[in-house]
């Protein structure tokens, strides 16, 4: 069940809006994790504007849960939350500033709509397994979604959680890996090799769906696939992405894990985002049904 052309184009506009807000926030904050933020922005767009079952009340008991295991992508997460009406957009202008409610890692006790405070890497899937089992204990049908980075897969706890998700048959948990191939010190395969990554997840008991994580239609298909899963194995969506996706001068460059831009670079980046968006619209028009 692919996205309709109309739906796809509307979601592209939303994704562009969020990428722009992420860039603006980096500019307001003076610096930020823009690389890893942009690589998962398409997944966030599909979750917050199509798949997550949410209400105006961020604490609604029966909402779907979302855990951002790569907590440093708060600079992408905050714009996504704001675009769903949680928190005031003006708060982004205080991002990282002293006593702001928002900073690099979002705090679940301070930012509306955040289901878990994350930041220490490798914890998110475990937390998500907990919420998924909580739904089961309470006989609730809501789903838990989790995005993990690829560098953080070095953490041993990730694999403890993977074993548990499969062992307990957490099919109400849908996990994404933001496979942007970069970590702070270099390429993942140079620092601590992860491949064959799909095989590893499969060996741990997951059904693995490998997709282009910068293609909204493929993300949509994969989520629909996971929702329709009738086996007792959880689904892992391995999203091949690019760090800094949308800004040509930082794209796929591990040095842009965290960075600051001057005014000239900000303007240039803004123009590059616009061009990227246009190209993506052309693809949506061409490939949409």
């Amino acid at each position: 069940m692919a996205l309709t052309k109309q739906e796809w184009v509307a979601l592209e506009k939303k994704a562009h809006e969020l990428r722009t807000l992420c860039l603006d926030t980096t500019n307001w904050a003076g610096s930020g994790h823009i690389g890893g933020g942009l690589s998962c922005m398409d997944i966030l767009t599909m979750l917050y504007h199509k798949h997550l079952n949410l209400s105006d009340d961020p604490n609604w008991e029966d909402r779907d849960r979302f855990i951002l295991s790569k907590g440093h992508a708060g600079i992408a997460y905050a714009p996504a939350l704001i675009s769903r009406g949680y928190n005031d957009v003006e708060q982004l202008k205080t991002f990282n500033l002293t006593n702001s409610k928002m900073g690099i890692h979002l705090d679940s006790n301070k930012v509306d709509g955040v289901d878990a405070s994350t930041g220490s890497l490798g914890h998110g899937i475990s937390i998500a397994v907990g919420t998924a089992l909580a739904a089961r204990v309470q006989k609730k049908s809501w789903l838990t979604y989790c995005i993990t980075g690829d560098g953080e897969l070095n953490e041993g706890q990730v694999w403890e959680a993977a074993m548990a998700a499969a062992h307990f048959g957490c099919t109400n948990l849908i996990t994404f890996v933001d496979r942007n191939n970069c970590m702070i010190d270099g390429r993942t395969e140079d620092i601590m090799a992860l491949e064959p990554l799909a095989d590893k997840w499969a060996a741990f008991g997951f059904i693995v769906k490998e997709i282009d994580g910068q293609n909204l239609n493929e993300i949509d298909d994969a989520i629909e696939f996971a929702k329709a899963n009738t086996t007792n194995q959880p689904v892992l969506i391995l999203c091949n992405t690019k760090k800094g996706a949308g800004i040509a001068n930082i794209e796929d460059n591990y040095l842009w894990h965290y960075g600051a831009m001057d005014e000239a670079m900000y303007e240039k980046s803004k123009a590059e985002l616009a061009a990227y968006h246009q190209a993506r619209l052309v693809r949506a028009e061409r490939e949409g049904s």
């Binding site: 679940s108 937390i127 089992l133 706890q157």
Partner: protein, 336 residues
């Protein structure tokens, strides 16, 4: 509140402290469907498996994975459940410290950690399995409540208090059997309030866990042998600490000995010293426990002897402090 208690002090010869915990948790589980229990391949050892036998759909054994254990519990708590988590105290505090810090305490998640095999109570297993730094770690975490019960009955009270107190809660209990301090749960347990086991005017012993029993023994011995009036406080709640009781001990006795099955760095002894120092009045304090050293292999009773926290060790420490001349003019009131 005592309703439903199906065991008495007569059972204490048959019941390990953890079994009191298991029974208390089962009782709570009957009343509160939101309680779930988690462990890391220690269902039998920690007795949390008693809950699992009764409520299998609310019980999760995550295998030997304490980090995953704590993060999962945090996720469950954030989704409305009240998880009770049990593993050995050395692993809940060290292996999973980051998860307890970031997922449980930082989020103020309603997770109850019942850490067993506390102190050196798993004697023969040696220092890898002795928890002598857990108070220091848990006490440092904001939002954490920290309790070390003296025996099985107090464990029941602590477990009930954990359920009734929102937020992170850590209870440290021993492996195996504890000497009986209380013969029922009805002795006025109050979270955050020290229990006066013996009143006295010469010196105060502040103790927790298995040292409460040895402190009362030492006090009774010293009364008979030396005519000393030794106050014994059961400081079951290490955080929040009963500051008032410590200040009163400073005012009334001017001499304090702290006894704990823990390193003297960062635990109850340190906590008491902080209160005494900030109070600003003259008071001699001696901290007993593991003196910045690792423990050794042996029976728990022998290890308590080595650490100087058994009856003899405590009595010697009292005599030492009583015989020291801290104040030339015998007027402590000018020390402020």
């Amino acid at each position: 509140m005592a309703g439903g208690l199906t065991f008495t002090a007569a059972d204490s010869t048959k019941l390990a402290t953890a079994e009191y915990y298991g029974k208390a948790l089962c009782e709570l589980g009957e009343q509160h469907p939101e309680i779930v229990a988690l462990t890391a391949d220690l269902a039998k050892s920690t007795k949390i498996g008693m809950f699992g036998d009764k409520f299998p759909e609310r019980f999760f054994n995550v295998g030997i994975a304490e980090q995953n254990l704590m993060s999962m519990a945090a996720g469950m708590a954030k989704a409305g459940l009240v998880p009770f988590v049990s593993a050995f105290s050395v692993f809940t505090s060290l292996r999973a410290a980051d998860q307890v810090h970031a997922n449980i305490c930082y989020q103020n998640a309603n997770v109850k950690i019942i850490a067993t095999h506390g102190g050196t109570s798993f004697g023969q297993a040696g220092s890898t399995h002795h928890a002598i730094v857990d108070f220091a770690i848990q006490r440092a975490f904001p939002n954490m409540t920290l309790v070390c019960p003296a025996d099985g009955m107090e464990t029941v009270n602590a477990v009930r208090a954990a359920y009734e107190t929102p937020g992170p809660f850590y209870i440290r209990i021993n492996r195996g059997f504890d000497r009986v301090v209380y013969d029922s749960t009805d002795y006025g347990f109050q979270l955050g309030k020290a229990q006066t086991m013996r009143d006295g005017t010469d010196i105060t012993i502040i103790a927790c866990g298995s040292c409460v029993f040895t402190a009362t023994q030492a006090a009774d011995f010293l009364k008979n042998a030396d005519g000393l009036s030794v106050r014994v406080l059961n400081m079951h709640t290490i955080k929040p600490l009963d500051v008032e009781a410590i200040r009163k001990a400073v005012d009334d006795t001017r001499r304090i000995i702290v006894a704990e099955d823990h390193t003297v760095n960062g635990g109850l002894g340190s906590a008491v010293c902080e209160v005494v120092a900030e109070y600003g009045k003259g008071c001699a304090v001696k901290r007993l426990g593991w003196q910045d050293s690792f423990s050794t292999i042996g029976l728990h009773e022998d290890l308590m002897n080595i650490a100087g926290i058994d009856q003899n060790g405590l009595a010697s420490a009292v005599r030492e402090v009583m015989n020291k001349d801290f104040e030339a003019d015998d007027n402590w009131d000018d020390e402020v």
